[in-house]
Subunit: 229 residues, 2 copies
């Protein structure tokens, strides 16, 4: 009877005792003190994953870009603005991580230099902004000598499956969750989402539902694959 209870309890809290790190939200890349480059990530999917991971018994670290969401109860939140700051925050804390979930929409590029003063509008009709590549947070985590179980996200507007599977292989991830952000009802800032999930030997679809429900389903899958690894 005790064994049964423990099994049932473990089933309900599938990440009990594990350290889970989740990145969420957009990053902002400063052009000058006033202007920046960013993207439409609301952080809702990442925050739902953080809440679901706490519920599943994990010790959760949430590394978040600027969003208008409160941190889920019971998780440690680290707030950052830029991709470089997110890279640093993740790198400093990755050692004890069992499962890493890169849900943030990290800016691939940043302005090559951030002006210290607001750039004045000139008479020029055109302006060119030189961008340089940001560090690859997800790729660097997966390339560690002892990497955690690594789940990436692919937010695409076309050829979703192809891009997602390429990212899975190319970055040596354990799993990738893809969503089509061109669809209004499941796109950025929506409370609903649907995911196609791929790993080396399989795939599954998680149909449209609210993001917290979806997060719980995704974490059950992660927990199962983590234990197989």
């Amino acid at each position: 009877e005790l064994a049964d209870a423990l099994i049932q309890s473990a089933g309900k809290r599938p990440l009990q005792g594990l350290c889970v790190m989740i990145t969420a939200g957009p990053t902002r890349e400063a052009i000058d003190p006033v202007r920046y480059l960013s993207n439409h990530s609301s952080g809702k999917m990442g925050y739902a994953l953080a809440q679901a991971a706490v519920e599943a018994g994990a010790k959760v670290t949430l590394v978040s870009g600027p969003v208008s969401l409160d941190a889920p109860l019971g998780c440690e939140r680290v707030l950052i603005q830029t991709a470089q700051q997110m890279h640093n925050a993740v790198t400093e804390r990755i050692a004890k991580t069992d499962i890493f979930i890169g849900c943030a929409a990290v800016s691939d590029y940043r302005p090559s230099l951030c002006e210290e003063q607001k750039i004045k509008k000139t008479d020029k009709d055109k302006l060119t902004l030189t961008l340089v590549k940001n560090p690859d947070i997800l790729g660097d985590v997966a390339a560690l000598s002892h990497p955690p179980f690594t789940l990436g996200f692919a937010a695409e507007t076309q050829q979703v499956k192809q891009y997602a599977q390429h990212k899975l292989v190319n970055k040596k991830l354990d799993m990738i969750a893809a969503n089509d952000v061109s669809k209004q009802n499941i796109g950025f800032n929506s409370d609903m989402n649907a995911l196609n999930v791929y790993w080396a030997t399989g795939e599954t679809s998680l149909p449209i539902t609210d993001k917290l429900n979806l997060a719980r389903q995704l974490l059950e899958l992660v927990a199962a694959k983590y234990k197989e690894k």
Copy 2:
């Protein structure tokens, strides 16, 4: 006695019966369906002005970029994303406007083209983004053949007075309110602000206070100068 009461009432509702249009918040300029250029404007000063203008008896139209604020009670809000959309929204509604307040932080430039699909990260270490000039909303309003009383804002990080006075003359504004956004306590997203206000024949300082209080003081000044014009 009646005359006294009317004078007192007019003093308390100094914009009674006037049509006031206020722009607020940032604009977002799309790079592709996921990424955009924007700025740190929270919209708080513009929304405070809209509320204060309603209190002062005006019919208020608030043309607002994406912010996380509710529209003040009693004003009509038009939500836009880009500078071009803001320009259109203002142009369509400007004819009956008595007082125009350009408080939005309009992006001076936008990407020369918006990609229909998310731009894929390439192997290239550098990327250049070509930007083209956006329409000058405030300048176009002030340049109308029968312009409303026009108040602009100058958010600067240095040489604040010089830039503000240049903008006042250059754009043929009736008044300009300047604030130094390099100061943390009165900068973007702060609930406090301080303004230096300039017009052709004078200037005044409105010391640091909450944005609603400041908005009320600024509108008293606007009402006085509007009546002198």
